[in-house]
Amino acid sequence: MNAMPPADAPSSLADLPLGTPARVVGVRPAGASREARELALRLLEIGFMEGEPVRVIAQGHPGREPIAVRVGGTTFALRRFEAEQVMISLDTRGAVR
């Protein structure tokens, strides 16, 4: 597939390519609205915690929406705007491409 420029490594789960192993860095601090706060809290509660391994296992079509994400041992379906709240870094330990 298309090679990723290393300088522009994805920083949010929404940009993580299919199948690439990564780790959660954190959930973006919630905005002002109640919905945003609830979403951030729920993402934390279901396990998007710092250091957890995370991987995109499927993407909908078209527009790669929604996405299915395996985090820790659990799989969740998310929308891209939800995934954008999750900050990630590529998992260097698993980065054999």
Partner: protein, 624 residues
């Protein structure tokens, strides 16, 4: 132990942790399904017979990820656990059911609950699967770290809850502090602290190899694939509808002939008269014509339960999320809509899992447009009478094709209504999907059996109560008053039902309905499938010939023009749902506006569709 005080236990756990399977194992068939007071969250309670003869009341709480609720279900769960729900006894003990293969996620809520000093026991469910996956749990260490008793359970095996039952035998009902604990919304720091605590406890008590998800990965690569996954989903749905029609044939015939035999037997043994007419024409024929559909309903539910238990249903919702998105809904609406092909009532109840209030409302409003199984008898009768058995395109059965078109018409109508409703409410804000796709597993036979039994019971109860009562009322209306002496037409013409039918004919004549259909539509409002029985009764009582079910179809073929038949089909695609649907809508929305609006728009849509169908068919057949 004192056996005077009955103990109350509540099962708490994440969705997909096998909590309901454990509940079934503990309580067997001694279950009672109702609603929590004042709200429509389903409340499942059962009795556990202890080895020492005591009885323990077990409450199955709705699954939750957190005590901090994001849905009506989770709110109830929190309030019951904290003992703050009005009208609900405070449980003496909370059994925290966890998926032993996923303690990382499951243990978080356990710690949340522990903080409030709720007396509890931790059940490590699916302990067998965990062992097979090489996860070793040091149970004593875990109990020490948590400060609560820990037992292993295997909800899908007989005897798999013995350790839990033994533990419950030790636990005496302990009085809780009278003041309910104070609840406050946690913040991100609280969640992070709890998470670190989970990590620490797991580090001290559990050794787990890196999670092996190879099987799930392989399945998901295909089943969640935009192309292959969608094709498999379409194939699955097609198979379900095929099975509903083809597998149900033999048992339906058996029920039909049994009903016929009972009717014949009664006719021979009873003296001719009013009572015989009531029992044979009213009750046996009417109730029998509805009872026939039990096999189809059970087959449909068997598939739905299988898909649900195996973990596939949320994946179907994932695949269809984009399609639902075109009308402003999310994939979450798919599951309630699919259930509605069986019956709108469970469909509407299933909308509770949709956390977005507006999506939920729209879904409730379009649920009646999904062709429920109660409409099948009407379709089957009319299609059987008017559409020739012919193969088209060398492959498709013409009757089946017409039926398929009727289903599609309902779906298309639902999409259009959803689109308009979601547009009318202004531009939708982005709303979350956030749905767990549970690990695949083989459905457990016992759970399937319980689910089916529950469905059968509900259906039979309905036949025995509402439908039976309606058939009796209808028989009276169609039999009295007796025709005046010297009357020439059939007796029913002069009865209340006849008069009512003739009055309604003014409303329905423009769409081609005669007075017999007009009468049948009235009880059909209470329960759709009754319309068939009603037509049967009306035609049986209006003719000399008393052979009912078998004769109805050719009788209609002679009596109705084709345009009337098609018009009736179009009417039934959209017509207002049965009273139960409107009642459940009233309860779920807690307002009279929505059920009334639902009945109103469906009536308008049905009338319009039937009118257009009638006129167009007349154009093609009537004059030509």
């Amino acid at each position: 132990m004192s056996n005077a005080i009955a103990m109350r236990v509540a099962l708490l756990g994440n969705p997909n942790c096998g909590k309901t399977a454990l509940f079934n194992l503990l309580t067997g068939s001694r279950q009672k399904v109702a609603n929590f007071a004042g709200v429509t969250v389903e409340r499942k309670e059962g009795q556990l017979r202890m080895p020492d003869g005591r009885s323990v009341t077990v409450l199955d709480l709705p699954g939750a990820y957190s005590l901090n609720p994001t849905s009506a279900d989770e709110t109830i769960t929190r309030d019951v656990v904290l003992g703050t729900l009005a009208g609900e006894a405070v449980p003496d003990l909370v059994v925290c059911v966890t998926d032993a293969t996923n303690l990382n996620l499951n243990l978080r809520m356990v710690l949340e609950v522990r903080r409030f000093g709720v007396p509890m026991v931790l059940a490590l469910n699916m302990a067998d699967v965990a062992r097979r996956r090489g996860i070793t749990i040091d149970t004593p260490a875990l109990a020490r770290e948590l400060g609560v008793p820990v037992v292993e359970t295997v909800a899908v095996h007989r005897g798999g809850a013995d350790a839990l039952i033994a533990q419950l035998a030790h636990a005496a009902p302990s009085p809780r502090s009278a003041v309910p604990p104070e609840w406050h919304v946690p913040d991100a720091a609280d969640v992070a602290t709890t998470y670190r605590e989970v990590r620490r406890i797991l580090g001290a008590s559990v050794r787990q190899p890196t999670v092996d998800t190879r099987i799930d990965d392989a399945l998901d690569r295909v089943l969640l694939h935009p192309l292959w996954g969608t094709l498999i989903l379409a194939g699955t749905l097609f198979l379900i509808f095929q099975a509903v029609f083809s597998w149900a044939g033999p048992p339906m015939d058996a029920i039909k002939s049994l009903v016929g035999a009972v009717g014949e037997l009664l006719k021979e043994t009873m003296a001719d008269g009013m009572l015989r007419s009531l029992i044979v024409d009213g009750i046996v024929a009417g109730v029998g014509s509805v009872l026939v559909f039990l096999p189809q309903i059970l087959i449909l539910f068997l598939f739905l339960l299988f898909l649900e238990d195996s973990g596939y249903l949320p994946r179907a919702a994932f695949l269809l999320d984009r399609v639902m998105g075109t009308v402003g809904l999310s994939g979450r609406s798919f599951i309630p809509l699919l259930s509605s092909f069986a019956c709108a009532v469970p469909g509407i109840m299933a909308t509770r899992t949709i956390s977005n209030a507006r999506d939920r409302l729209t879904t409730i409003m379009i649920v009646p447009l999904m062709t429920c199984s109660a409409r099948l008898p009407v379709y089957a009768l009319v299609i059987g009478a008017f559409v020739p058995k012919r193969v088209v395109g060398g492959l498709f059965n013409l009757q089946g094709l017409v039926l398929f078109v009727l289903y599609l018409a309902g779906i298309a109508g639902a999409m259009a209504v959803a689109y308009i409703m979601q547009r009318a409410g202004g531009r939708a804000t982005q709303h979350p999907l956030l749905m767990e796709l549970p690990s695949y597993r083989w459905p457990n036979l016992r759970n399937l059996a319980y689910g089916l039994w529950e469905r059968a019971r509900i259906f039979l109860a309905r036949v025995g109560t509402i439908i039976l009562a309606l058939m009796i009322v209808l028989w009276f209306l169609s039999t009295f008053p007796a025709p005046p002496t010297g009357a020439t037409g059939p007796a029913i013409q002069y009865s209340y039902a006849g008069v009512l039918g003739h009055a309604l004919e003014y409303v329905f004549a423009p769409i081609g309905f005669n007075w017999q259909i007009s009468i049948a539509l009235v009880p059909g409002l209470a329960a759709r499938e009754v319309a068939i029985g009603a037509l049967g009764t009306v035609y049986a009582l209006s003719s000399v010939d008393n052979e009912l079910a078998a004769q109805l179809s050719p009788m209609l073929a002679n009596d109705w023009p084709l345009a009337t038949a098609f018009s009736l089909l179009a009417w039934y695609v959209f017509a207002p749902q049965c009273i139960s649907t409107l009642a459940i809508t009233r309860r779920e929305t807690n307002s009279w506006f929505y059920p009334l609006a639902m009945a109103g728009y469906l009536f308008a849509l049905a009338y319009l569709a039937a009118f257009v169908t009638y006129r167009v068919t007349l154009l093609f057949t009537g004059i030509g």
